[in-house]
């Protein structure tokens, strides 16, 4: 039971960390699909 709970918590932590890293690295649609001259938003 302890191994199961530890593994579950570990899986959630790994997923959250992966989510943060991928979100930080992800290119926004604004940047991906427009040229700089066509961007209204600076996000």
């Amino acid at each position: 039971m302890k191994a199961f709970l530890t593994a579950t918590v570990a899986a959630i932590v790994i997923a959250i960390v992966a989510g943060f890293i991928l979100k930080a690295e992800n290119e926004s649609a604004t940047a991906a699909f427009t040229t700089t001259s066509a961007r209204v938003s600076t996000n």
Partner: protein, 323 residues
Amino acid sequence: MLISATVLLRRVAAALLLGGVVAFANLTPAVAQQPANDAALMEALKGTLSGRVSIPDEKSALLQQPQGREWREMREGPVKSLGGWLLVAVVVGLCAFFAWRGRVRVEGGFAGRTMERFTPVERFTHWLTAVSFIVLGLSGLNMSFGRRLILPLIGPDAFASLTELGKWSHDYLSFAFVLGVFLMAVMWLRYNFFNALDAEWFKEGGGILKKGVHPPSSKFNAGQKILFWAVMLGALVQAVSGYMLMFPFYFADMAGMQLSLLVHAVSGILFVALILAHIYIGTLGMEGAFDAMGTGQVDVNWAREHHSLWAKEELGARAPGDD
């Protein structure tokens, strides 16, 4: 210049509609014209339709391609129908097997003494892989079958929330799953090479088809070795195809993306079918088996019946009176 492709499409459609109207206006009722025009339009669009764009995403210049339609038909047709029926067949087959064979009991009865089957690290690795796989499997099945099976039950709002949560979980839990499989490979690879004993195990039906039959087995029997290699191969295919989908067009073009999705869906369904059988034999199908991953301790008689060589080795290594 995406607009030019759209305008081109509209012009083609308008020309076909106009042609249809002129040709059939006096011959057929208005209602009957639409299917004929749709068919003509689809015929005209059979080839690749592409234009020119000035935005960074050059792929958007491709408006439609025949391979895309074939891919969609394959995914919505055989992949979903055959895959769905395969999973149903596996569940029905396991139920039928259970009805016929019943639970595989410890025939010598529980000895009341236990021995360590898996260490805490091994069990952690197993559950890390298992927990993430269950979420990956359920969220993946929801992506394939949810719109047909779950949407009518819970409505569009709840289904949208569920699917969005499942999509993010599917993406991010994949890393825990891959890590778990990697650790399994490191820990268990040396036990999973096939040898002459495995042929005997197969000849005896793994000892689960008939009562009183217990083919000799080491730490892992031939069935578990097959499972091990299937998980390794399945995880590799799932990871490669899955990360190609997670990072669209980084590693593959449009055709590669379509192929990745088909491979991911087909291998995913096969993987789920395999793991259903594993879950069955590890829980309901065999008495005492769950303890191996539950507490890590198995009954000595269970070990002697199902993994006799491993039990002999382990018990022989113990100091007298240890068990």
